[in-house]
């Protein structure tokens, strides 16, 4: 049994032997998209589902949301069946493609979904305003969504996923279609939401995105879990050691290498550490923004934060480029 099953506390998501076979019109099996998946997602953790296209990530998510019915296996979400109305009230979902009503404005869209959660008009209005501010769409709040770019529509999609202040947030490719700044802001937001006690299940085929935020991951291939566990555990190499020394010139470094090789009898590799492109990009943009005084940062809506984090959420303005 893979490491993915860790029933320490009652799981937010508990899946056992999940299978999904798509059938054709004559009920003949066509594709077996999910082949016996087991997984547990614990409260407050960020869980990443990774895999190439067609690996069964989105199908698994749709099964968890009750949009598809499993062929075999059991699914418990927040302790109940996924199509239970009470469970749906506690879940926020961002689909892979934000298929919003093109004729509605972001404000109307959020209001519509808020009302579906049974929110009263005042609460709905307040949450919509806070969420629009969070995703930086106040200025475009009254333009039809049909006129929006993919990234802007994605922001509206993210906002609608949070309108009910969910306990469990399911994000299917949350950074798809976003520019690097918005990507980073979404990842920061995901971390903040997890800190506030929300459980987050996200999928992505952008490995760096998941690596940045996820506590645990599962890698799917051909509908099966191929590897699973804590990100740090999975990625760390216990058979090698790396030193990081600042201010060392090339000659000293070469001398040190030779000394280490002589003492250990192993080949020692030396290189200059490089920052990743995303960090470099964000630093450049942050410099430009400081010059232009531009502001475009996701600041979590206060209603999404627990009491002690509310004031912080109101005042906090994350620095672009801060990992």
């Amino acid at each position: 049994m893979p490491d993915i099953i860790k029933p320490v506390t009652p799981s937010v998501i508990a899946v056992r032997g999940l299978r999904k076979t798509f059938r054709d019109f004559w009920r003949r099996p066509r594709v077996e998209a999910v082949r016996g998946i087991d997984l547990d997602v614990q409260p407050g953790e960020i869980f990443g589902l990774l895999g190439p296209n067609g690996s069964g990530k989105s199908t698994t998510i749709k099964l968890l949301l009750g949009l598809l019915h499993p062929t075999a296996g059991t699914i418990r979400v927040l302790g109940r069946a996924p199509n239970d109305v009470a469970v749906k009230a506690r879940i926020g979902y961002l689909p892979e493609v934000s298929r919003l009503h093109a004729f509605l404005t972001p404000r109307e869209t959020l209001h519509y979904y808020g009302r579906l959660f049974g929110l009263d008009a005042t609460a709905c209005r307040e949450r919509c305003a806070a969420l629009l501010e969070m995703v930086d769409l106040q200025r475009d709040a009254d333009r039809p969504v049909g006129e929006f770019s993919k990234g802007m529509a994605r922001r509206v999609g993210l906002a609608q996923a949070l309108v009910n202040n969910p306990e469990l947030l399911i994000l299917d490719e949350p950074t798809s279609g976003l520019d690097p700044i918005a990507c980073r802001e979404v990842k920061d937001l995901i971390r903040l939401l997890a800190q506030s006690g929300k459980t987050i299940l996200m999928t992505s085929h952008l490995l760096a995105d998941v690596e940045d935020v996820a506590d645990r991951i599962a890698i799917l291939h051909a509908g099966e879990v191929q590897a699973a566990g804590c990100v740090a555990d999975l990625l760390s190499r216990t058979d090698a050691v790396r030193f990081l020394i600042e201010g060392l010139d090339d000659a000293a470094a070469d001398a040190l290498r030779r000394e280490l090789e002589a003492r250990t009898g192993h080949t020692v590799a030396l290189d200059h550490p490089a920052m990743d492109l995303e960090t470099y990009f964000l630093q450049v943009v942050a410099r430009a923004e400081r010059r232009d005084s531009a502001t475009a940062h996701f600041r979590p809506a206060p209603f999404l934060m627990p009491g002690e984090m509310k004031s912080e959420a109101r005042s906090k303005k994350p620095e672009v480029g801060t990992p």
């Binding site: 798509f22 949301l65 109305v85 009230a89 689909p95 009503h101």
Partner: protein, 460 residues
Amino acid sequence: MIPHSLTAYSLQPLPTLRAVAAVALLSLRAAVRSRVVLMLMLVLAAGVVGLPHMIVGDGSPASDLHIRLRYALAFGAGILGLATLWASCAAFAVEIDSRRIELTAVKPVHPLTLWLGRWLGILLLDAVLLAAVVAVVRWQLTGTRPDGSRRDAALFCRTVARPVLPAPEVEARSTYERLRQSGRLPPGLSAAAVLRQLTINVRSRCTVLQPAEHVTWTFHPDRPVPADGRLWLRLRFDAVRDVTTDVRGVCRLRRPGQTAWAAEVAVNDLTLNQLELAVQAPALAGARELEMAFEYQAPPQSAALLIRPRQELAVLIPAGSFTVNLIRVWLAHLAILAALAALGLTFSACFSFPVAAFSASALLVVVLVSTGGIAEEEAAMEDDSHATTTLMERISLAVVSSADLITAPMLNPEPLAQAAAGERVPDAELGRLVAWGGIVYPLILALLAAGVLRRREMVR
């Protein structure tokens, strides 16, 4: 705060009502912000305003009323009916096809709530558009004609009282028993077939009047004659020999049991015309029972007159304003539109848009065909044990009969025809239309759709 426990959530009606209102508002916004509704409004305006100018009447206010109600308003209601059916067929089907339903289906909303919201949204739009059509027709009817006379001279609302006669079924049964006891029943026909034919005969049975003869009928109107004694007699005669014959005679009215006639009106017209005679009889004010006599005063050689009292004879008593009657017509048609919207939505939950639209339209055609009398003929054919029927005939019989049976409560009343004839749409018929179209059919169809939506996989 959103309730988190199942019990708390499922027992709170307020969140459900909010969700219904949100879905209804979404439907309205989708309709108002699309060009389809704009086109629909243009077509309605063109039909309601333009159609009466293309149909030539006899120039009388009654003809004007007939054209505007039977053609213009019927056109408007028909176009709205088709638009409603197709729009509702698209509602869920297009959402599912485009996978936009994904975001709604993960919200804590029961499929019944979604269905109800969609239905109310479509119905609200229908109500507004139909009201606009009715208002335009009403405004056209009350306008002044080019010759300066008021067009509203024919805008009556009257209750119709038929002569008191035994029910056709009772009379048919009595005739059947008489034939059976005397051994004169036609051979090879079932009892049902014979009774059916006898009932048809009784309904259209004629009273024959020779010159100088008279005949008397009693009426029990459902409301008293008004204080000014204003009422109408409606008659239509046929002739034994000629296509048209002079109808010369006199109609008299009184309360039953009185010797003196309270009103007398001369008849001088041709057969086959429907006559509507206005009577002013203050002596009959408050009467709830009337006796009417017709005396045929033609020369002795004249042809005998025929009258079918169950179909062609009536006393009409004023019963409210024409505008109120138009509102009843609006309500009756709204009930029909409600049933069509319910049908379309349920098909939409079951099938893709093309399949839903085609199936619902085909069903509508079958229903309309079945009400054209085909079902009755086919039923008679079924009763005839000598008739050899093919499998296809039997299948068509079953389909048409079923459609006729299911939709009979909705299709028998003809509110437009009644309003055009200056008749008040009867309370019982209006109530039946509203109950079936607005409650019973939608409830059954909503439960069916909710069951399908719960079981159906929304996305692939």
